[in-house]
């Protein structure tokens, strides 16, 4: 009999409770659905038991903080509310001070808003431009407005020209210097030789100041000379000694002494010390006194016919002076030479009415042209000095500011992977370094190595 299929036959083959009994598929589905969350809970519990909170970390710590990987409470504080455990400013300041930027700033962002950690081995100080432009793109301050440009979005777009180079600015230095003359190919050098000077003969960083100076005095030429602090040096104490970042101001002893000698009298080979007029005055007097004591014959001063004047009576053929007189006369002559010619070649002298000695204006050599930014010459060693300071070779005025303009910097420092860093932090520091206070939190090595419980 052929097999037939009817609905009734098919339906009656089925046991009507089949869907209540679990099939292997359903059973496995249930088992796994229980097992997976349980496994998850077990994992979480395992980490909880071992107090290992690193599993909740959003990323590895920066290189600076990597040593604190096991010390979550170094930054995360649990006492703020019963639940939160954020990294708060107080904890940052416990180890390193982060002084305020400006007293007039409109608001103070938290440490973590600019320095986000847990992003792997990054440079924590490398904040993004957005952190700066959140204020500086549209600068508002509390109280008086400051003289800074109010809308800066990035270095390459609308960062203003450096303040020292603004159109109305002049170099405030009071020492005459013509760079063009000094850099010419065949310059009259010491002892009558012809030399070609190069930048580094005069301009070196403080750390290199102990090296031999080819155009300095004998001590400097020998090297390891002490540098005299220049008068009225305008600097902030922010220049650390022995830094390679900034060029130290050129001093006479190191850079000028070899050519610009300070002889004062044809009888003497000595040079006056490069010092205050009073000191020079004493020196000259002392030297002359020594001389006349050794050469009493010069006390007889013959008449110099070329010095006869028509209206004046002819003086005696010779005068016999006492040593003090002689010294006084010679001093006056020599000082006239000095004040009117020698010193004046570089300095600005003013003589008050009736004052015996002139006043020399402070030299005002600028140690740092950009007080609000950092610059490190040693990072730029690969670049030739005149490539950035292009104006130096042609500069003839002492008032020329020979700092390179922002355009020069922008030729390398702009956005893009093949350019040098151009974000704000590369040159500017948010935290006012002048107000930095020392701080340290005092972890022990053993503490740092063990996981906190």
């Amino acid at each position: 009999m052929p097999r037939t299929r009817t609905t009734k036959k098919l339906a009656q083959r089925i046991d009507l409770d089949y869907f209540k009994r679990p099939s292997p598929l359903r059973r496995w589905r249930f088992l796994l659905s229980v097992a997976a969350p349980v496994l998850a809970v077990v994992c979480i519990a395992w980490f909880a038991i071992r107090s290992d909170r690193r599993v909740y970390s959003a990323g590895n710590l920066s290189s600076a903080h990597a040593v604190l990987t096991k010390q979550c409470s170094a930054c995360h504080v649990s006492t703020m509310g019963f639940y939160t455990s954020k990294a708060i400013d107080q904890k940052c300041i416990a180890c390193h001070d982060g002084p305020m930027h400006h007293a007039t700033q409109a608001f103070t962002p938290t440490c973590a808003s600019c320095h986000a950690d847990h992003r792997g081995a990054i440079r924590l100080a490398a904040t993004s431009d957005a952190n700066c432009t959140q204020c500086h793109a549209n600068l508002k301050t509390r109280g008086s407005s400051v003289g800074f440009v109010k809308n800066i979005d990035s270095f390459e777009s609308d960062h203003p020209e450096f303040a020292a180079l603004r159109p109305d600015r002049r170099d405030p230095g009071n020492i005459q210097l013509n760079h063009s003359v000094h850099l010419q190919p065949s310059l009259l050098g010491p002892n009558g030789s012809r030399v070609q000077m190069i930048c580094v003969d005069c301009h070196r960083s403080a750390a290199d100041a102990n090296g031999p100076w080819p155009y300095g005095d004998s001590k400097s030429q020998a090297g390891a000379a002490k540098t005299l602090p220049a008068n009225g040096q305008q600097n902030e104490s922010s220049v650390p000694p022995l830094s390679r970042a900034y060029m130290a101001p050129a001093t006479y002893a190191q850079t000028c002494a070899a050519c610009h000698t300070l002889q004062f009298d044809k009888r003497l080979a000595d040079a006056v010390p490069h010092d205050k007029p009073e000191v020079i005055h004493s020196f000259v007097i002392a030297k002359l006194q020594t001389y006349i004591a050794a050469h009493p014959v010069d006390l007889r001063v013959p008449r110099d016919p070329s010095r006869d004047l028509p209206e004046k009576p002819i003086p005696a053929d010779y005068r016999l002076l006492t040593p003090p007189q002689w010294v006084a006369e010679r001093t006056a002559e020599d000082e006239q030479l000095l004040w009117r010619k020698t010193c004046k070649q570089c300095h600005t002298l003013t003589t008050d009415e009736g004052a015996p000695l002139p006043k020399i204006a402070p030299s005002n050599i600028t140690a740092r042209y950009m007080p609000h930014a950092k610059f490190d010459h040693s990072q730029h060693d690969l670049v030739d000095c005149s490539s950035c300071h292009a104006a130096a070779t042609a500069s003839q005025q002492r008032s020329d500011v020979l700092l390179p303009g922002i355009a020069t910097c922008r030729s390398c420092h702009h956005a893009g992977p093949e350019a040098a860093e151009s974000r704000c932090f590369e040159c500017h520091t948010y935290h006012d370094p002048a107000q930095r206070k020392p701080a340290h939190s005092g972890f022990s090595v053993a503490e740092l190595q063990s996981r906190e419980r």
Binding site: T7, K8, L10, A11, I14, L16, F19
Partner: protein
């Protein structure tokens, strides 16, 4: 009193079974065997209705017919004679997203629909039809109504209300069946029909609308009333065409035979007609017409028909037009239907179903959500089995099909399985678990489930002292109950359809759902066109 003989009858209170002797006094019962009546003593009961009382309401399911002995009753349709019209559908995606459709009732004069029939009378399950404009009619003594409900278990077609105090006989199917075979009864029925309903039926046939009254009168006495049993053929394709038929009662299937199988063209019910193509054309039948259930037709012979056509040429024109339309439609269907598994549709008995649960197998992921949902809403026992034969890419699930002719209800000894106010099949609390309905259901949609129930031993079994103690303890017995899909009528949507995540389960009316496949033109009203 209508019948003289009734004088001698003792009126019994409402609900009392009618004694066989009393029944035999009635002229209509003259031919009936007394033994039969005695054996089925409870199959006929006295009913008394006070003036204004409702005898039966339209839409209710029943299983009895009423024969009026005394009094007048009005038969009417209480529902508004209007269709549901959805208010203007807005255009545009967003508008549709946010708007709500409202429905209102609209009568024919307000809203004319394309496929609407122009019926003047509404066919009901009574000797008279109701006029469209004023759907009220009167029934008097000696008239029988509720035949369709009684014979075929269809719902009541109209509301009958007693106009005066009435006395009626209410009878079950077995009695009516026998009555319909009696010549006397038949004669009376025929006469009533001719007098009251034939007119309106004829006039309802569009092409006959223009007929003069004298012609109708002429026809009235010439028509023949014929009965057919379920499945009996009325006429066959290819037979010589010698008559025109009007359907008085029941459903007629009109089909054509093609090499691929049988194609059902239409289902005709009360007031519809067929056979005019054969009369107009070459003179042979172009389709098979057979009775789906208990069918009664009015037959008009060919000569009378031709006389009609000669005398009224406009009738001929109308007939020819309608014949042409039908032939075109049939051709179209044939094109559509050449490769369709109609045989399958019929073989599976899907014709019989009013509601099927079909699972779209191209979407079903066999996840058993439908079965679980069914079980969850029915005390953990599923009424649905996800197994059965396929039709096209659908699985026709084993779940109650709300058959037109509910075979499951036939034979239930305690009448526990019946229909309620909708298509829903109910198995009442007093199901004794005999399993007859499960055996009768040809699709295995009824299942017997065992429940453990506590039962006390019946008192008469207590014979000894010891037994009394035993009787007072409750016994646990295994009780079987029949269960079947109840369409979850408490909810807006059946649970299985609601719970299917993949839009695969659908409770559908098979002829509409598969209309395209079956090649039937489905009009906007959703009814198959004739």
């Amino acid at each position: 009193m209508l019948f003289e003989e009734l004088k001698d009858m003792q009126w019994q209170p409402d609900g009392t079974p009618v004694a066989a002797e009393d029944l035999l006094r009635l002229p209509v019962f003259k031919d009936i065997s007394p033994q039969f009546l005695k054996k089925n003593a409870n199959a006929t009961v006295w009913r008394h209705f006070k003036r204004g009382e409702i005898v039966c309401r339209e839409g209710e399911f029943g299983s009895t017919a009423f024969y009026i002995l005394e009094g007048k009753a009005s038969v009417a349709l209480a529902s508004p004679i209007a269709h549901v019209k959805a208010q203007g559908r807005p255009e545009g995606f967003l508008a549709r997203l946010t708007s709500k459709l409202t429905s209102r009732l609209a009568a024919r004069q307000d809203d004319r629909r394309e496929d609407e029939m122009d019926r003047r009378s509404i066919p009901i399950d009574a000797p008279v039809d109701l006029a469209y404009d004023h759907p009220v009619a009167e029934l008097a003594a000696g008239e029988l109504f509720g035949e369709m409900t009684c014979m075929n278990y269809y719902p009541r077609s109209a509301t009958v209300r007693a106009e005066t105090d009435c006395t009626m006989l209410e009878m079950l199917r077995n009695v009516l069946d026998v009555l319909q075979k009696s010549k006397v009864f038949r004669a009376q029925l025929d006469e009533t029909y001719r007098r009251r309903a034939l007119d309106s039926h004829l006039r309802d046939v569009t092409i006959f609308r223009g007929l003069q009254q004298d012609f109708i009168d002429h026809l009235r006495d010439r028509v023949e009333l014929m009965r057919f049993a379920p499945g009996q053929s009325i006429c066959k394709q290819g037979d010589p065409a010698d008559s025109f038929y009007l359907v008085r009662l029941g459903f007629v299937k009109v089909s054509e035979n093609y090499p691929g199988g049988e194609l059902v063209l239409a289902y005709l019910s009360r007031g519809d007609y067929f056979g005019e193509i054969g009369l107009l054309g070459g003179g042979t039948r172009t389709a098979d017409c057979s009775a789906l259930d208990h069918v009664e037709v009015v037959r008009i012979s060919a000569e009378d028909f031709r006389a009609m056509v000669e005398k009224y040429p406009e009738v001929r024109a109308g007939l020819q037009r309608s014949a042409r339309e039908r032939q075109e439609a049939n051709q179209e269907r044939l094109q559509m239907v050449r490769s369709v598994p109609l045989e399958n549709f019929l073989a599976q008995g899907l014709m019989e179903a009013q509601s099927l649960l079909v699972l779209d197998l191209s979407k079903c992921t066999r996840c058993d959500a439908c079965v679980t949902a069914c079980a969850d809403s029915h005390d953990g026992v599923t009424r649905l089995v996800r197994e059965g034969l396929r039709f096209e890419n659908f699985l026709v699930a084993t779940s109650c099909r709300q058959c037109r002719d509910p075979l499951c209800m036939v034979g239930c000894p305690v009448g526990a399985i019946r229909r309620r106010n909708s298509l829903e099949v109910i198995i009442e609390d007093w199901c004794i678990g005999c399993g007859l309905c499960a055996k009768n259901c040809p699709y295995g949609n009824i299942n017997m489930h065992s429940f453990t129930a506590q039962a006390q031993a019946p008192a008469h079994e207590v014979k000894h002292e010891g037994d009394r103690e035993h009787a007072e303890q409750k016994k646990a017995v295994v009780q079987k109950k029949a269960t079947t899909c109840d369409l979850c009528t408490d909810h807006a949507e059946p649970s299985c359809v609601y719970a299917c995540p993949h839009d695969a389960a659908h409770r559908v009316e098979p002829r509409d759902f598969f209309a395209g496949t079956l090649g039937q033109r489905v009009g906007k009203s959703g009814k198959a066109r004739k």
